[in-house]
Symmetry: C2
Subunit: 466 residues, 2 copies
Amino acid sequence: MSISDFRADLGDIPVEDHPRIVQQRSRDHYWYSPILKAKLDHVTAEIVVSPRSNAEVKTVLAAAFRHGVAITPRGAGTGNYGQAMPLSGGAMLNLMNMDKVLEIKPDRVRAQAGAVLEQMDHQTRESVNGELRFHPSTYRMASIGGFIAGGSGGVGSIRWGGLRNIGSILGVKVITCEENPRELDLVGEDILKVAHAYGTNGIIVEAEMPLTQAHDWVDMIVGFDDFIEACRFGGAVALQDGLLVKEVAPCAAPIPQDYFNRHKPYIRDGQSVVLLMVAPVAVDAMTLFVAHHKGEMLYRSDEASAEELKRLPPVYELAWNHTTLRALKVDPTITYLQTRYPTVAHVEKIISILGDELPMHIEVGRQDGVVMYGGLPLVRYTTEERLNEIIRIHEENGCAVFNPHRYTLEEGGMKRTDQKQLDFKREADPKGMLNPGKMIAWDDPNFDFNAGRVWLFDGLNPVNAA
Amino acid sequence: MSISDFRADLGDIPVEDHPRIVQQRSRDHYWYSPILKAKLDHVTAEIVVSPRSNAEVKTVLAAAFRHGVAITPRGAGTGNYGQAMPLSGGAMLNLMNMDKVLEIKPDRVRAQAGAVLEQMDHQTRESVNGELRFHPSTYRMASIGGFIAGGSGGVGSIRWGGLRNIGSILGVKVITCEENPRELDLVGEDILKVAHAYGTNGIIVEAEMPLTQAHDWVDMIVGFDDFIEACRFGGAVALQDGLLVKEVAPCAAPIPQDYFNRHKPYIRDGQSVVLLMVAPVAVDAMTLFVAHHKGEMLYRSDEASAEELKRLPPVYELAWNHTTLRALKVDPTITYLQTRYPTVAHVEKIISILGDELPMHIEVGRQDGVVMYGGLPLVRYTTEERLNEIIRIHEENGCAVFNPHRYTLEEGGMKRTDQKQLDFKREADPKGMLNPGKMIAWDDPNFDFNAGRVWLFDGLNPVNAA
């Protein structure tokens, strides 16, 4: 591998090599996990390359192939799994210069990978009163390419399911890492070859997404004395198809009091809350529904003053992993888990065992059409052993854990090899230059996922060193 | 009661009193049921009154109150429960002259009661690319007021649930039948006072409904050799929130072969079908999904010729009670039931017992957020006793029946008194002039719903005769 030879082949494609800047741009939000933080803190690329077109991406990938330089693609770097951390050094491929919205139709939008989600929605609202079905809580920063490569759903999943569900992505354009990189347009089932593959098997440069009717979503915070009542209310909302919502997130006390700095004046001591985003057309019905469930309407943005609206972040920036982020800002010892509770009774059981060690945060969503209590509980972290114990307690009680303290595709969620993604990597990245170390199946086909051991990628070394 | 005194008070409000025309306009589609047909065939009003404004409706209702004339409101008369049949004679209140769309916003529409659903959608599509969430299969004729007063859901219920679910109706304006009729604007929970009340407790003159994103829905017909596979496919579609559909209806062979005259050239002998309406944005994903489920794509409107599109009715006119209508046109001995199968296993069980006596037709929908197999099976009718036996077989096997062979609110679906509707009738129709005989609770508070006997309204007589 020769970074200088690689660089020499890039022509006038913008490159950054100042070590401190490169290291800054080599980070994602892996540091929500103390375990990933310990493992990845020293990881850095050698240069950052910022192509401005598909042709320039091809130039970069051909050079990487030729010179054996590892390529780690990166959007806004808002992921939490270390998915954009360059384990083998090499080059960060920054796609944020490719941020154009290419085409808007009444029911779909096509954009370059680096287009920021909020910016896309601005344009599609303006043009066809449409918006993306879902977005992460990092809406204002995250790119569409990064969301597809590293995300799985978010705000809107209560209505539309997950990003990898059939119909959620209409098409992606991917560039391969070969001697002569190819542009491949993937549609239908082929989209799953690269969706949530962390850019390990092709660089997503464009995506086409369905649009749904845009709404000026009304933020609401509803209080309950009892967190389980808050969960029951959240589940009941999710079952009302006529009650159009985009976000339903119960957060147990003392999360709102301790970590929602701007909103806490609205919330009484001991109160748990449900965060809601409600379509204006459903506001009256929701008000009624809240009263029926004996919830207390603590805040609604449609009745807030201009000063309040200016001061308060949107509710989605209290939810998903922004809940964790807000907790971390106050208490750096906090971390989190990613879990799934089939019923409210499961939530109740886990709380009865773990209590305040695991301040509970639920994202109510639909998984294959069924209402599901997705957990993003905070964890008052002590040791890795105790964290593993907490995971074990979940699993023993019938609650799945998608471990956010692992940086590989398989360990973080899929729990097994995705054969389609592996096969596609053989085709699109035959030398294994793309985001090395993230797909276990590529590096260690005999890895035993049931052994429970941490997979140690011996990266941080050049791949395919001559 | 004096019709002539009543009429004298109507000023220049249009009135029709030619007996044959009045009788024609006194009909709804009760005749899908041989039992209702026998009971109601001779029912007719004495005059038809066709007001053109809320003020004229008030004039009519004040006169009815004063002179003791029964008033039966009517939209397009497309209901199947005899809900618009004037059991006590008197006046039909034809609301189809009040058909204006009053206001369109991006997420809602307000219209007069007589506005035809298809016409409303034309205007809202044109203006804000929006459409109503759901409509009956009588979309081209039915009015919004009639749909709210007599319907419960339909095409779109797969996505949005039912008409009486919270959030499905934003508001209604109702006129009371009193000495001085009042205009009441009902919102929130109060809407349920008159939704699906057959106009027994107030005349709906305006309604405000949510709009959703309009689509040029693609009709599809998918074939399966086995009907149970067709149901499983339908259920699987319903669970895919990313696969945007408006209609999913499995119809067992020989329904399509025998009754879908225009479409039958597309369908092989013995094939069962699933009728689908798919958003263009979901067509590729659906094609994939069909292939996965080993369905055969028999027809899709987006690939049909101009000639085919002209010749073939839209798929929704094969579904809901249009299935029954098409069967009736071919075989006048056919009738139907309205049932609910909690699972496909329930469907299978009923078919195993009843076989071809009950050609199966399912409307897959969501009921309180849960996928449900709503049944509209055809029945090869022999006797009322046998029909009751078929109902009993359903109930014994855990499948609810909403008997479409009864014309009262309670017997047709609710199975019990709706106290809110009854209380509102006391307030809005103190003399009981509105659609007499349809609300058992009003006429016979001691009626025992568990006795299983048919409630015999001794109507066809003047109400409140002096």
